[in-house]
Symmetry: C2
Subunit: 225 residues, 2 copies
């Protein structure tokens, strides 16, 4: 496994948005940012038309109008490429102030559901998660590119709710962090399971019921007064 080429073989610190790599590699021909965007867009398109298992890097290269070798110079393989292509989809998530915690949750969950309704997110996201169970580096890439980036929404929503007095303040930092993780797993997990496994739409009615249970629990009255 000794590479004799002049190109870097794997590009380890290669985060998304390649133009933001500040250190090193100041000389020589820079990598084409346009090619990067074209490759990621072509990957999403291929996910839509072919799904995960039939997606091949050669096909993506043809769609993007670049050579197959360019793909292998920038990404270690199919897993890493799809992670980056899917991660871009989640950057559009936001948390507008809708006046109450319940409304805030419903709003962001509906956004999340809309993203998961797109076929490139459905097949791509679950596939890389499956692969990450046997690839620690890939799991970390997913966490950094997708999960942790969106956990900000939970933090912002909780802070806003505490300002409103809807949630009690949490003095213990460790306990607060665990709660954030729990909420994130419950929200993201429920929407993913509803959309992908149950294969039913996470529409307004479902989101309303979900939010009610999340805030008030099962023991509360099944129908709000």
């Amino acid at each position: 496994m000794i590479s004799l080429t002049t190109d870097r073989p794997v590009s380890p610190g290669y985060r998304r948005a390649m133009q933001s790599r500040t250190p090193a590699s100041r000389t020589g021909r820079p990598r084409s940012a346009a090619a990067n965007a074209a490759i990621l867009a072509a990957t999403r398109q291929a996910l839509v038309e072919l799904g995960w298992s039939r997606l091949t890097l050669g096909d993506v290269a043809v769609r993007a109008g670049v050579a197959k070798t360019t793909l292998y110079r920038r990404w270690a393989g199919k897993n890493e490429l799809v992670v980056d292509a899917v991660a871009e989809l989640f950057d559009e998530l936001s948390l507008p102030d809708r006046g109450s915690l319940a409304a805030d949750i419903e709003g962001v969950v509906l956004q999340f559901a809309a993203i998961l309704a797109r076929p490139e997110a459905r097949s791509g996201l679950m596939a890389v998660v499956a692969e990450s169970t046997r690839d620690e580096a890939l799991r970390e890439r997913i966490r950094a590119s997708i999960v942790d980036r969106q956990k900000r929404l939970v933090l912002a929503g909780r802070a806003r709710a505490q300002e409103r007095g809807e949630l009690p303040p949490e003095p213990d930092a460790g306990e607060a962090a665990r709660t954030v993780d729990l909420i994130f797993d419950m929200v993201a997990g429920a929407v993913v399971h509803r959309t992908l496994v149950s294969a039913e739409p996470a529409d307004e009615e479902w989101v309303h019921g979900f939010t009610r249970v999340l805030l008030s629990g099962l023991a509360a009255a099944p129908r709000p007064g």
Copy 2:
């Protein structure tokens, strides 16, 4: 796609536990039940050692001690084979009476988490779910073999809780069915997300916090009296 062989090409109604197919196919050499068990066990073993993407049907055939063609005679492809192999893992789930709804939930969630802690379940389950986003028949197979089979646990738990008076009776059948689906998505989704995406163990502490939120909601006191 015209098969000229004497063997049935796909075996459409081929459920799990082949010995229980009562109608039709009364004559001829029966399919070996031992081979079936060996193939599914070999599939799980290959999932552990290779993961989803590197698992090949030829490799499974060698591990199981059968010919590769036997695999293709019984399953349409890799997807269907892994669904059946993984589905067996979930049959051990049960709902012992632990005295309260909270204890019942915690018990079954811990069982579910234990199954998802096994590598053959982790990589196999998510992979077939990802593939099912582009394969309606596969999604239905997953639903019949795994999801609907375990929804019985939610039904039993709710009935038991209603007998205890912990949950109000639901006169509307449609509303009750939607609630069952919602609970199932929330429970299974949260555990799956915690285990696979967050890659943290769903241990007793986490399950305890999850159950508290599920029953009482976020607005309740963060620490139980």
